[in-house]
């Protein structure tokens, strides 16, 4: 047949006014709007479209849907290259560039097809034995060969230039699939008053009705009715790929290639849909037969042939052998005969429905009962088949072979939540098991292959689904649908053994022989079979192969199909690009940044910023040096000699109020708070219930019943939730309310000998004398139209003040302080210097409060010596925490001039071999300008004797001797901060 003879002049769902030019393997072809790539290729006489995964056998188009295992193509070039797309689902668009896969140097002459000759080398279990075998040497030997020879299409390694979106959606009723059952369900649910979302993976509404010319008028009427209903939305080109808890569906929507060139339009959109109820109207997939060379280009599913003839107006070829074990294949035969094809029917069953037989014969078909196809002749195209019947074998020449071995309901989604499919022998198929009461199945998905049954089941499922959402309006009878129907499978098709190169899984190249080999070697369970043979492991998830494999296994083991097992399915139903799930959350938008109210000033004043959790904080300011090591040391000198200002807005801030607020804090902090006077602040440490230190911070008593708590930046959210938990559960009797005010207040700290003078100049209304505002004192006032809280607290060990002001005036207050302070030498400093200053003072932070240390470990045991009734108390006394070798906080000082210490270094006794975990570890280090050497904090076994350790840092092969000293390196009496 010439290409022009293959396409009918009329009929089908095509817009013949839109001729689309596309290329396949570099050659240019034409198709129509409404074609898939597969349909357009068939119409152009292209039947060889790819090579198989393992044996590189020539392959054609098997199906007309998402189940396609053979016709996988790569679309696009460069950064837009996307591999493994089924040509049967690819909507033809102008300029589409598609290429075949697994071929070298060309599709017709493929060097790797010698794999077919060396069959045993890549026999079943080759991968399994190579990976799992006693020696991995085999893998080393074969790796190069496998990598070159096997594999599906190649993905691009370039950055993805396309835009994706992700969105959230809600509906009363979700209907998955828009065939007869889905349309009927959507209509009934909508008439009952529910909001309905109808989801169709195809670009055309209708499902199998698109292949039923007699259903066209009904389809048109239903579609029009649904499109006009305000409470119905229709998503085309959208695959429901996964079902999750709470009736959540994952959807992936392809852009409409005819929507016009909108630059920002997403190529694919991911939707997370929450539905009150779901109707699964996903239809059924036809199964192939298993016979020798059933994978040759030109061997197709009978239902697919019918789709190409009726929906796409393509006659793939004219001399057809229809092999079947199922009545539905006769409908394909009738449509082919009506188009002038020559048809031979090989019906595997001894009997067939008499009316079908009579009609087939009357239309001119030759029918052989109890006859199977035993072999297919031809390599790149079909030239004939060998038929085997009771009277022996006979060759029949043909150029197209159709096959039908029954139908598999598309129950993937229904099983994603763990509902096991159930085998129904009368239809020789698995159907969904008992679904939750908010989920319904209608039509082919539930095993009802007749279209009139699908319409009826859809209507009742739609009504029931609407009722789940509380919508029970009157539903009118659906228009009648008159259509020629068959009974479907009437006997169980059983693959016949003894056939060579009879493929069960086309995509993964698994044959009947392979399954027999697996069985001989003892891999009997389906799950073992899958791993041994790779059956069902392809991108098609074995949609066309699972049931045939089960049948083969059942027959080999002499058990029934359900005894052989079911396969459960996991999302996704079809491959989902990661980019679509990420949506716009890529690059800069991968995660949000939290910015302080003073952020803009920092970036305008040459701060190098650092990500601290989600926060952006100044790391150091270039005013003190252009690299961090110079800058932080200068910033430390600044704070110790004059004054520095630091943005501390990131601290967690919690407002605590109520008559029992003091009693509450007295419990949540390990050290006491009940005695704290109004207008005073106190450092506090919280434990977890298990006795480990949770967080530290300062809390200030603003009034008798009101406190202002600060937490570490990292634990802000956890501390708030923890306080809320205690108050909402065990301590409901405490009259206390807690509320986060972290974002309401900007915070800044001015530290250094000049700090009191600077603050006095900046806030002339407040008395900063030692008497009026002593260490740990509070002063309140106003700054512009914002409240102002100044708490005299020191983290650096210098006289220092924390200034809290309403967030909207944060930058103003900061600017005022910088302006006023300039005369005193005030400059900003960053977190690197902050961290170094606290090490000099022996203050613990995140590296020491690491979820493993207790108060005693951190040298704060005395804080709670006379206390009881606080969180974590009981378990902090457990035996393990009192062990003699418990690691405790120490100070460490490098005693090798010029040698630096490193955080994470392991600590050993001098002379001890540097092996294992050592006696402790270095937690924080810094260079100390005051001491002119490297110092650090560490955790060291309490039973360690001696005052010297060896700090080993194996990552850099560094070994440094250090002296064990008090963790407070500077001003142990605290004279500086008391001023």
């Amino acid at each position: 047949m010439t290409p022009t003879e293959k396409r009918f002049a009329s009929g089908g769902y095509l817009d013949r006014s839109q001729v689309l030019k596309f290329t396949f393997d570099g050659r240019q072809y034409e198709g129509f709007k409404g074609d898939t790539l597969a349909a357009a290729l068939l119409a152009n006489g292209v039947s060889l479209v790819g090579r198989s995964f393992k044996y590189h056998r020539p392959r054609g188009i098997l199906s007309a849907g998402a189940e396609e295992p053979n016709a996988l193509v790569t679309v696009g070039t460069g950064a837009r290259r996307e591999p493994n797309l089924p040509a049967t689902m690819l909507e033809l668009a102008s300029g589409l560039e598609a290429a075949s896969q697994n071929n070298w140097p060309s599709l017709r002459f493929d060097v790797q097809s010698v794999n077919s000759l060396f069959g045993p080398l890549l026999s079943s279990g080759f991968y399994y034995k190579t990976f799992m075998g006693p020696s991995r040497r085999a893998w080393m030997f074969y790796e190069h060969f496998i990598r070159k020879a096997a594999g599906l299409g190649k993905a691009t390694t370039l950055p993805d230039p396309d835009v994706y979106d992700s969105r959230d959606d809600f509906t009363d009723v979700a209907v998955v699939g828009s065939g007869a059952a889905g349309l009927s369900a959507a209509r009934a649910a909508a008439q009952a008053g529910a909001r309905v979302l109808l989801i169709e993976q195809d670009f055309e509404i209708g499902g199998r009705l698109l292949s039923e010319p007699a259903g066209a008028a009904w389809l048109r009427a239903m579609r029009t009715e649904l499109e006009e209903m305000a409470n119905v939305r229709i998503m085309r080109r959208t695959t429901a790929f996964g079902l999750y808890d709470g009736n959540t569906l994952g959807l992936i929507e392809d852009a409409d290639p005819f929507a016009g060139p909108v630059m920002a339009a997403a190529r694919k959109t991911f939707t997370l849909l929450r539905a009150q109820s779901i109707v699964f109207a996903t239809g059924a997939i036809e199964r192939p037969m298993v016979f020798s060379n059933n994978d040759r280009p030109g061997v197709m599913l009978n239902s697919a042939i019918r789709t190409y003839v009726n929906r796409y107006a393509v006659l793939p070829d004219r001399n057809v052998v229809i092999a079947t074990a199922d009545d539905s294949a006769y409908l394909t035969a009738f449509d082919l005969l009506a188009r002038g094809a020559r048809v031979t029917i090989a019906d595997a069953r001894p009997l067939a429905e008499p009316t079908l037989l009579a009609k087939a014969k009357q239309m001119g078909a030759e029918v052989h009962l109890a006859t199977n196809v035993a072999d297919v002749k031809g390599k790149y195209t079909v030239t004939g088949v060998v038929l085997a019947g009771k009277s022996g074998t006979a060759g029949v020449s043909c150029d197209l072979v159709g096959m039908s071995a029954g139908w598999s309901p598309v129950l993937h989604l229904t099983s994603h939540q763990g509902v096991k499919p159930v085998y129904r022998p009368e239809i020789d198929a698995f159907v969904p098991g008992q679904l939750p009461e908010t989920q319904f199945v209608a039509g082919g998905a539930g095993g009802s292959l007749s279209i009139s049954a699908a319409v009826a089941e859809g209507a009742s499922a739609g009504r029931a689904a609407a009722a789940v959402a509380g919508k029970v309006g009157v539903v009118a009878e659906a228009p009648a649908l008159e259509i020629e129907e068959t009974a479907g499978a009437t006997t169980v098709y059983k693959p016949i053994f003894g056939q060579r190169k009879a493929f069960v899984d086309f995509q993964m190249d698994v044959t009947l022989d392979d399954i027999q080999l697996a069985h001989r070697e003892g891999y009997e369970s389906v799950e073992h079979l899958k791993r041994y043979t790779t059956l069902g492991m392809g991108t098609d998830q074995g949609k066309t192969s699972n049931i045939n494999a089960l049948k083969v296994m059942a027959k080999l083991r002499g058990i029934s199909i359900p005894e052989a097992g079911t396969t459960t399915f996991r999302p996704p139903y079809t491959p989902v690009p990661i980019g679509a799930v990420a949506g716009r959350a890529t690059g800069h938008h991968f995660r949000p940044y939290r910015l302080t109210p003073i952020h803009d000033w920092h970036t305008a004043n040459r701060a190098q910023m650092l990500e601290v959790g989600l926060w952006m904080r100044p790391w150091f300011f270039e005013a003190c040096g252009t690299d961090v090591n110079t800058a932080y040391v200068n910033e430390m000198r600044l704070v110790r000699s004059t004054a520095g200002i630091m943005d501390i807005s990131t601290l967690g801030k919690i407002d605590i109020q109520g008559p029992d607020a003091a009693a509450f804090l007295d419990r949540v902090y390990a050290n006491g708070f009940a005695s704290l006077k109004v207008g005073r602040a106190r450092y506090g440490v919280m434990l977890r219930d298990d006795g480990i230190v949770f967080d530290d911070g300062t809390t200030t008593r603003l009034g008798e019943n009101r406190f202002f708590m600060t937490t570490s930046t990292a634990k802000a959210a956890d501390v708030l939730s923890w306080l809320e938990f205690l108050l909402d559960t065990a301590w409901q009797d405490l009259r206390v309310s807690v509320s986060s005010v972290s974002d309401e207040w900007a915070g800044m700290s001015v530290a250094g000998p000049q700090s009191a003078k600077i603050l006095a100049a900046a806030f002339p209304d407040i008395d900063f004398s030692n008497e009026a505002l002593p260490h740990m004192g509070l002063a309140e006032g106003a700054f512009k139209d914002s409240p102002l809280r100044i708490i005299r607290l020191s983290y650096s060990g210098e006289c220092a003040y924390e200034i809290y002001v309403g967030a909207s005036n944060g930058e103003n207050a900061w600017r005022d302080l910088i302006d006023v302070g300039a005369a005193y030498g005030l400059k900003p400093y960053g977190v690197e210097a902050l961290g170094a200053l606290r090490i000099e003072k022996g203050h613990v932070a995140g590296p020491e409060i690491d979820g493993r240390t207790t108060l005693s470990d951190l040298g704060m045991g005395r804080m709670v010596a006379k206390r009881s009734g606080y969180v974590g108390e009981a378990l902090s006394h457990r035996e393990a925490f009192q062990a003699a070798n418990r690691q405790r906080l120490v100070g460490l000082k490098s005693i090798e001039p010029g040698k630096r210490l490193r955080g994470g270094a392991l600590l050993f006794a001098p002379g001890e071999p540097l092996q294992g975990h050592g006696r402790g570890r270095m937690t924080s280090i810094t260079y100390s300008p005051e001491l002119d050497c490297y110092i650090g904090l560490g955790l060291l076994a309490a039973d360690f004797k001696g005052d010297e350790v060896v700090a080993s840092y194996p990552m850099k092969n560094e070994v440094v001797r250090a002296r064990v000293v008090s963790p407070v390196f500077l001003d142990p009496a605290g004279e500086r901060m008391h001023g």
């Binding site: 999750y244 808890d245 709470g246 009736n247 959540t248 997370l272 929450r274 939540q417 763990g418 939750p436 419990r667 219930d689 298990d690 959210a717 939730s721 809320e724 938990f725 909402d728 559960t729 065990a730 301590w731 409901q732 009881s868 009734g869 606080y870 969180v871 108390e873 009981a874 378990l875 006394h877 457990r878």
Partner: protein, 88 residues
């Protein structure tokens, strides 16, 4: 996606909530010094199959701590209530 019907805010995705563990265990009194009581409260859990009462906090909503009755097999949620009402 679990869908939790917050008695304050309505049905929301579980991603708005923070999981808070077993709600069937009784927290010892704050001044109970008994090591064994605290050991059992902090560490000993039955891990039941079927209905289970657990704490969830609506952190991205009303911030209430809730008691959610969830089936550990099917993930279906049978009831949601304020933890404050549970015990008050």
């Amino acid at each position: 996606m679990l869908r939790i019907d917050c008695p304050c805010c309505g049905v929301r995705d579980h991603s708005e909530f923070r999981y808070g563990g077993d709600a069937t265990v009784e927290r010892p009194a704050h001044d109970n010094p008994d090591l064994d009581s605290w050991y059992r409260y902090v560490y000993v859990r039955p891990n039941p199959k079927g209905l289970h009462r657990e704490y969830w906090q609506h952190v991205l909503g009303c911030r209430q701590w809730l008691v959610v009755e969830r089936d550990t097999v099917t993930h279906s949620i049978h009831s949601v209530s304020f933890s404050r009402r549970q015990r008050a």
